[in-house]
Amino acid sequence: MSEKVLLSIDNVTMRFGGLAAVSEVNIHVDKGELVGLIGPNGAGKTTLFNLMTGVYTPTEGDVSFDGSRLNGRKPFEIVGSGMARTFQNIRLFKALTALENVKIAANIHRQASLFDVVLRTPHLLKLDGELDAFSRDLLQQMDLADVADVRSSDLSYGLQRRLEIARALATKPKLLLLDEPAAGMNPQEKAQLMGLIRQIRERFSLTILLIEHDMKLVMGICERIYVLE
């Protein structure tokens, strides 16, 4: 396998009961690519995402990321190794503010024990300070700074989408998986989103895999496209 390959899916099959949601799929994504994944409803696009991020373990076949096999690893471990995602139906932490949403994701690379937390040791205060600065900075970059302290459920739909991307970015991923990021957006918003995706790709030197129905958007930004049927 070449050095360039970041993610590869080899002959993956997923069955629920007797039903095969995904069968014998092969995908590979190289470093720095922006790849699109399209297909009709029920083709198993989201299932594939779930297989990559560890929500499901494939019935057959292998998923490997950055040179290591992912089968059977827990979602939170996979995030730690550098793969973050957004959800088709927005899944923010609704009662928490935008800033808190980002902080939770950013917290992943930090080491603070329960002891530190409970006694509020200087170590913790320092880490908390850094985290706060990092998260606010990220929100700034995503044009979300002025809604940092707003409950995420009170945000507009477009902002919620953007916050979800910001939250995924906070885990400092190598590969970003976007599940229908443009769903429910009007053309103007979609154009904005396209700009945003390009922009973050540059800025964070990301590899991106995205699921989308809107062919215009997919054709517009993707370098390669997989079709799932």
Partner: protein, 367 residues
């Protein structure tokens, strides 16, 4: 072997009762995803209706003095059975209307009025207890006055209350209703145990060395009939189909033009009437003590049975009830002190193996 068979039969007898109560839990859970903690207390009310019907309201004859009155008593017992089913159904509808519907649709004016009156009730009783003459008229008057004062106060205080979707909230509300029925029962019926006298002739016979008792068999038969009727209603009638539709997707059902509130009321009525029937039968045919906490333990066990079989699944509830009854009976014959623990241990083990219960469908959350 004979002893084992005998124990098994006893287990089935107990299990049938659990199953009848469990059906009410499971139907409500299927439709609303709500643990109706008050269900066990509806069962208690059924027993009390039976008690008052058998001792005061209806002209039952004492069989030890009038052995010829058996036929009359059987007819009266049937009337009592329907009476407790009817009254419990009404109670079930009331509970749903004023305690659970506000959780779904928000606290409306009518709810404020109802609860205003409910709060006024104990106050009225207190006024009644204070006045030495204990005149009924004065009592009623005071109740009406206090009720009228409470209503607008409540209505004013509770403007613009939004519905709540919290599960914990619904659970505490259900527990609250259960507490109201239990404590209200203590105030209204008194805490001293009451016993229903023998109203039906009893016969004891043995078959293959296994003892049978006629009154136990009656419970079994009636329970089986009621379950068959329930099955028919749920599978083949319009409201039954609507119930199933709601349990799949309440919002979609609403969009399809189903009057969900009415169907939910119907569900409660159905479940409550089964509990009422069970309450009356147990109190009258096994002659155990009727107290305001009559429904606590059976209610809990039946609920466990419902979860065991798969909450929301009707055959599951029946199966769960039977399993619970049999297992309890088997354990009780050897290690009676672990009887209650076994019910829960069984539940824990089964849920760990099959998180949705025995017959429940394991639906993973969609991502």
């Amino acid at each position: 072997m004979q002893a084992f068979l005998q124990t098994l039969i006893y287990g089935v007898e107990t299990g049938a009762i659990y199953a009848l109560i469990a059906l009410g839990y499971t139907m409500v859970y299927g439709v609303l995803r709500l643990i109706n903690f008050a269900h066990g207390d509806v069962y208690m009310i059924g027993a009390f209706v039976g008690f008052y019907a058998c001792t005061q309201w209806l002209p039952f004859k004492d069989l030890s003095q009038h052995p010829e009155a058996a036929a009359v008593n059987i007819a009266l017992a049937l009337i009592t059975l329907f009476l407790s089913m009817l009254l419990c159904a009404l109670l079930g509808i009331t509970i749903e209307r004023f305690a659970y519907r506000p959780l779904r649709n928000g606290f409306r004016n009518a709810d404020a009025h109802f609860w205003g009156f409910v709060i006024a009730l104990p106050v009225t009783a207190f006024v009644g207890a204070m006045s030495t003459t204990k005149r009924q008229g004065a009592l009623l008057f005071a109740g009406v006055v206090i009720g009228f004062i409470m209503r607008p106060v409540m209505a004013h205080l509770t403007k613009r209350i939004k519905p709540s979707s919290s599960r914990l909230n619904a659970l505490i509300t259900a527990i609250g209703v259960s507490l109201i029925l239990e404590n209200g029962g203590i105030n209204v019926f008194g805490a001293d145990p009451k016993f229903i006298p023998d109203i039906l002739p009893k016969r004891q016979f043995s078959l293959l060395g296994v003892e049978f008792n006629s009154s136990r068999l009656i419970i079994l038969i009636i329970a089986a009939i009621l379950m068959a009727v329930l099955r028919y209603i749920v599978l083949y009638t319009r409201p039954g189909k609507a119930m199933r539709a709601i349990s799949h997707d309440i919002d979609a059902a609403k969009l399809m033009g189903i009057n969900t509130d009415r169907v939910i009321s119907f569900t409660f009525a159905l479940g409550a009437s089964l509990a009422g029937a069970a309450g009356f039968m147990v109190a009258a045919f096994t002659n155990i003590k009727v107290v305001p906490l009559f429904g606590l333990q059976p209610g809990l066990k039946a609920f466990v049975a419902a979860v065991l079989g798969g909450a929301g699944n009707i055959p599951g509830a029946a199966l769960g009830g039977l399993i619970m009854g049999v297992v309890e009976s088997l354990v009780a014959s050897r290690y009676p002190q672990w009887r209650d623990a076994v019910a829960f241990i069984l539940l824990i083990v089964i849920l760990l193996v099959r998180p949705a219960g025995l017959l429940g469908k394991n639906t993973a959350e969609k991502v």
